[in-house]
Symmetry: C2
Subunit: 304 residues, 2 copies
Amino acid sequence: MNFELKILGSASATPTQGRHPTAQLLTAGGQQYLVDCGEGTQWRLLEHRLRPHHLRAIFISHLHGDHYFGVFGLLGTMHLQGRSQTLTIVGPPGLDEVLTTQMRVSGMQLAFGMEFVCVDTEQVAEVYADAHLTATTLPMRHRIPCAGYLFAEQPRRANLLKDLLPPGLRPAQLARLAQGHDLEPDDNLPAGLRHAAVSAPAPPSRRYAFCSDTLYTPDLATHIQGVDLLYHEATFLHDLHERAAQTHHSTARQAAELAQLAGAKRLLIGHFSSRYKALEPLLAEAQAVYPTAELAIEGLLVSL
Amino acid sequence: MNFELKILGSASATPTQGRHPTAQLLTAGGQQYLVDCGEGTQWRLLEHRLRPHHLRAIFISHLHGDHYFGVFGLLGTMHLQGRSQTLTIVGPPGLDEVLTTQMRVSGMQLAFGMEFVCVDTEQVAEVYADAHLTATTLPMRHRIPCAGYLFAEQPRRANLLKDLLPPGLRPAQLARLAQGHDLEPDDNLPAGLRHAAVSAPAPPSRRYAFCSDTLYTPDLATHIQGVDLLYHEATFLHDLHERAAQTHHSTARQAAELAQLAGAKRLLIGHFSSRYKALEPLLAEAQAVYPTAELAIEGLLVSL
């Protein structure tokens, strides 16, 4: 099954023509999850022919507007489009209050349920799980409570090695094997069959770490060792590292250093300050430390 | 002085590629006013090189998201851009609560003051006045409390007729005349001078009526007789007039009928349902009743 990330926004708080605030679409096991949702995210989904209807959950890192002001409109659109499936919204304290206040003053009654998961942004804790994915908070250090998220696939199924399968298995037997079970002795299989004897080991679950707005925090690396993909904010170039520290943001070099410390297999940097009209200097600075770093710019699709 | 309207959004609630939710920029006496502010309005301002910094007041018709979800981000951007001037926000009850709730949960303290004017959407009442403009509510009939606004220039100054001015007037005398005063007898003007004798009558104040989401309401015409410009929503074509009535919206034909009843000098129609990929049929329907009707589409600039 696919495990992929589409970048919908690369900007930081001040609006910039052609760049949009943070939003990412994660697809796992055919399910879609939104990671942060800046203003206008529903138009980004439209541009990429993605239907908000299909979203299973929305994860919000923190309550600065460039990370969540798109939620209001997105909920309204899902309602107008006839959504009935419950939507899970994961985020820091206060998100539920502002959303329910908005709906009350607007006289809006959504046609679908919402389940709020209020996270403790200082803990590393599993806050979401379904059949495809788990999400674990990563403590960011920002000006207000802020959580990153480590998304991990649920354990993957071992692939059967067709060349090793005995001939004449019944469809029901094949199905049981595919589900990971051993087969009991049977009239067409007198010795039975151990699942492990005819399958490759299950591929490891893929993991994606989303490190939203944060002061450079090397300790984070311990929680995301060997992650398949790391997104880390890189608001500034390193010559502005003091400004980064003052505003609780990171530099491109720091993002790359964290990727190195974590042994991340891939690195995306984003959340670029509007002062940078061209992004190449940010990329070059990250690549000086982590040579395969990439820019998390609008439209980028990363399949793991 | 200029009195002009720029259309920033033409769409109704469901997002449509290339169309944006309601937002209009009114300029009067060199001051800028925002009329409704759907999601993403700050990017529309950016596209037209308009600086939100300069906005004097924001008028919100009602609390459906496609008319106000852009306010959250716009306030944040004004803050980041260093605004210090107080901003007036005019709108129905609840707007102040949702904005202050959002700022509280976001830990945001704006660097500028906000003055909320809470309007009674069932009354025709002057709710705003400054040196350039007054705004009077127009009762809309929608699913939730909704106000239109009649914007009127403050009385304009009579233009001096230079050919009639006696020679040798001192600069101070000219200035008094320009301000509308008579001149007392003086050594270089023994008979004095009546202002009316050397000026054309003041041009009438220009007026713009913004009729946001509403059921067709012919009575509205009495409040906007002879208006220079009428914007009226036209969500549907008239074959869907029952759907329009159910949802408390109007059809293009009804918008044109209201313009006729009001003797409006110009008519713009907008707030088009996303079901209409092409807008010509809506325009044709309006023009069958009001031949000079125009589409209020993104980028349109109307100077009165």
